[in-house]
């Protein structure tokens, strides 16, 4: 089997069925990397949140799943990017129960809690990129 550190999957997100593909792929990769069941669930849930956000706010974008290597450990990196409207107020987007889309408003802060590293880059009008990592 291909080692996780050089595995990469890019999934174009254009519809609900693409979200499903991304979740299944995330499951497979985290399983292959020998993440614990709870972490597999965190990773799949994260991918689901991020992919759904792309669909909801930008219409389309891409999710990239890949292995990553740190100084002393290995892990998995998830990048979700789109060229949608972007997030005007990133601080609010990261606080609980704030939603500009009429939903629970727990997605991004939840992802931040589930992952080990979290970075949100967004520019209004230019798009959004969320990069997260989970270490083994």
């Amino acid at each position: 089997m291909q080692g996780i550190h050089n595995a990469e999957a890019r999934i174009a997100i254009r519809g609900e069925s693409d979200v499903a593909r991304a979740i299944v792929q995330a499951r497979r990769m985290s399983q292959a990397a020998a993440f614990q069941t709870v972490d597999q669930s965190r990773i799949a849930t994260t991918v689901s949140e991020l992919a759904r956000n792309i669909l909801k706010y930008a219409g389309q974008g891409e999710v990239i799943l890949r292995g990553c290597v740190g100084a002393t450990r290995r892990g998995m990196e998830i990048i979700a990017e789109d060229s949608g409207p972007g997030i005007a107020d990133t601080d609010s987007a990261l606080s609980d129960h704030y939603s500009s889309g009429g939903t629970l408003g727990l997605g991004l802060p939840g992802v931040q809690r589930m992952m080990d590293e979290f970075a949100l880059e967004s520019e209004p009008g230019a798009g959004t990129r969320v990069t997260v990592r989970k270490w083994l």
Partner: protein, 305 residues
């Protein structure tokens, strides 16, 4: 893909003739080149058909698709018409429609796309080589070939598009069929409903589940329902939101829903997401949910002595 999802992603609108001409850089001069090139080729198309089928017979697909002579006859006649229209080079909506019909016909019989493209390649070679007998200067000849190949590429693209549109349509239909099978609300006891959910819940499926549950409650007057999610791949905020809404709606109809099959991993992610499950009844196993349901409906289970 459910109908809702299809609406969210409309089928790509086919381009108009004018847009196609622009896309393939076919200008009036190109169409004229094709027409005058055709003057030399069209009278010899019978020869083309003969040579083309000499090649076709060498292909493994030949037997499969052209075993009966009547069919072969019909296809050959259509092929003649096809090239006559090609060299008439009148690219309008009708022309595009006819190309789509050609693609649809090939896709329907299951002809591999690569055989179709190989056949177009052979046709190109025959038409510009063996069939061509005219006194164009080398420069004029090269320009004509260029124009002919532009139109051939456009025709091929239409056929390829028709093929892939067909595949997408089949996928969407299969998805719909799967969705219909995936909400089997069953009345497992007087007043008790069970719906096991497997796979991924998206918004249209969430809506399907809601509709199926409420319809069944109104039909069976069930007091208790069990939604087993042990087979669900992911419970993210959207899925949790759906589940919460479903339990609220069933409660309004007098039916208390228990969500069973919460694994340790799912329990932790729900907490980390910060979802407030409120007073929703949840259990780790389906068995626990059943015990609860029997108690709520006044059924007593006893071991036979």
């Amino acid at each position: 893909m459910s109908p809702l999802d299809l609406a969210a992603r409309p089928a790509e609108k086919p381009l108009t003739a004018a847009q196609m001409l622009k896309l393939y850089q076919l200008e009036t001069a190109d169409l004229e080149n094709i027409q005058s090139f055709g003057e030399s080729v069209v009278p010899r198309l019978d020869d083309y058909v003969t040579r083309f089928y000499d090649w076709m017979e060498t292909q493994p697909e030949f037997e499969q698709f052209f075993s009966d002579t009547e069919k072969l006859d019909r296809v050959q006649r259509q092929q003649l018409v096809y090239w006559q229209e090609f060299f008439a080079a009148k690219v309008d909506e009708e022309y595009l429609d006819k190309r789509r019909v050609v693609g649809e016909a090939h896709a329907r019989i299951g002809l591999p796309l690569q055989v179709y493209l190989a056949a177009m390649n052979v046709s190109m070679k025959l038409i510009t080589g063996n069939l061509y007998k005219s006194g164009l200067s080398p420069d004029q000849y090269a320009t004509s070939i260029h124009s002919v190949s532009k139109l051939m590429h456009m025709d091929c693209a239409i056929v390829v598009q028709t093929f892939s549109a067909r595949v997408n349509r089949i996928m969407a239909e299969q998805n719909d069929a799967l969705m219909e099978m995936s909400t089997p609300v069953t009345s497992i006891w007087d007043g008790i409903l069970l719906l096991p959910i497997v796979g991924i819940i998206d918004s249209s499926r969430g809506q399907d589940i809601m509709n199926a549950m409420l319809a069944k409650i109104s039909k069976t007057r069930a007091r208790v329902a069990i939604l087993d999610i042990s087979g669900v791949a992911v419970v993210d905020t959207a899925v949790a939101n759906h589940l919460i809404k479903i339990t609220k709606a069933t409660r309004l109809m007098g039916c208390e829903t228990t969500i069973s099959g919460i694994s340790p991993a799912i329990a932790q992610t729900i907490v980390e997401l910060g979802i407030d499950v409120g007073d929703i009844q949840t259990t780790a196993t389906l068995r626990d949910a059943l015990v609860y349901a029997f108690r709520a409906t006044g059924v007593e289970i006893r071991q036979a002595p």
